[in-house]
Symmetry: C2
Subunit: 138 residues, 2 copies
DNA sequence: CGAACTTGGATGACGTGTCAACTATTCCGT
DNA sequence: ACGGAATAGTTGACACGTCATCCAAGTTCG
C-alpha cells in the first residue's frame, strides 16, 4: 500500500507541478515559519533528515531557483535557507492538487474508524521501533 | 510508520548481512522458483519493478557475485538470472534475523484485529489507486 | 592565551531509481 | 519472404540517499 500510494502521489506531483515529494516537503517546512527562513540544521531536525541529505537536496533546489542561501551574521559557520518567490509560487501551485490527490487515493476509501485504527497502529509501531532500534533520530 | 520501520529493517539487514532490502527481495524471488533461475522480465513482473531498474540492480548484484546471467537458447534476446552459491548463502544467512526483526518491530505490537484492519485498508487503498492512477503496473 | 573538542555545514564517492533512447530478436500481416 | 511492430533487455543521463570525510567557526579548559 505504501509503495503504491507513494508512487502515485509522487507521479502526480511531478507531472503537475515539476516538484518531487522531497522538494515539496522542504517548501512546506519553509512556508511554515516566520519569514520563510530557517537554519539548515533546524530544517534538518524538523524534517528528520540527515544534514548531508538535506545539504545535497538544497544544492539541487538552489540550482533550480526554489530556495536561496544567506549568510548568518551571528554564527559564522551557519547558513540560512530562504524561500524564493519562485519557490513560493511552486508550492502554492502544487499544494491544492496534492491535498486533493491524498484525499482521492487514500482518505476517500477509509472510514473514520479506519483512520483511528491506523493512527493507533502507527503510534505503537513507531514507538516500538524508536525504543528498540539504535539511533533512530540521527 | 512506514518510513521508520523501513529504515530500521534496512539498517538491520545492511549491518548484519551486507544486503540491501532490494538485494534481499531479488534473492527471495529467485529462491522461490525451480532451479533458482528466472527470465529477467518474469522477475520484473513478479517484483513489480521496472525492467530498467531491475537491469541496473542485477548488474550491481552480478558484480558482487550474488547472481549470474545465462543465455537463453530458445529466445535469442533473453537472459536467465541464476542464483549463485554466494547468493544462496547470503539469503540463508539473512533471512532468519530479518523475519525476527519484522516480528519485533511490527507484529509484536499488533493484535490480530489490527492485522485484519490493516489488510482491509491496504486492499481498498491499493485497489483505489490502481483503478484511478494512470499506468499502475508499467 | 592556545590546544583539544564540538558543531554547522559542504563535499566526494558510490549505491539506488527513473526516464528516454537504443540494440537485437521475434512476431505478424500481407 | 519481408518490412513494420512488438518484445527482451541494456545503457546513459540525471535525481536522490548514505556514509565517511573535511573544513572552518565556535567552545572548553588547562
Amino acid at each position: 500500500m505504501n509503495t503504491v500510494v507513494g508512487a502515485a502521489l509522487a507521479r502526480q506531483m511531478q507531472t503537475e507541478s515539476m516538484l518531487s515529494m522531497q522538494d515539496f516537503e522542504v517548501l512546506v517546512h519553509l512556508t511554515d515559519v516566520e519569514n520563510a527562513r530557517l537554519r539548515v540544521s533546524e530544517l534538518a531536525r524538523a524534517m528528520r533528515w540527515e544534514k548531508s541529505r538535506l545539504s545535497h537536496h538544497l544544492s539541487r533546489m538552489e540550482k533550480r531557483g526554489l530556495i536561496g542561501r544567506e549568510e548568518c551574521s551571528s554564527d559564522g559557520r551557519g547558513a540560512f535557507i530562504v524561500l524564493t518567490p519562485e519557490g513560493r509560487a511552486a508550492i502554492e501551485a502544487a499544494a491544492p492538487s496534492h491535498v486533493d490527490a491524498v484525499r482521492r487515493y487514500f482518505f476517500d476509501v477509509l472510514t473514520s474508524d479506519d483512520v483511528k485504527a491506523l493512527r493507533s497502529i502507527s503510534e505503537r509501531v513507531t514507538a516500538r521501533v524508536e525504543a528498540t532500534d539504535t539511533c533512530p533520530s540521527e
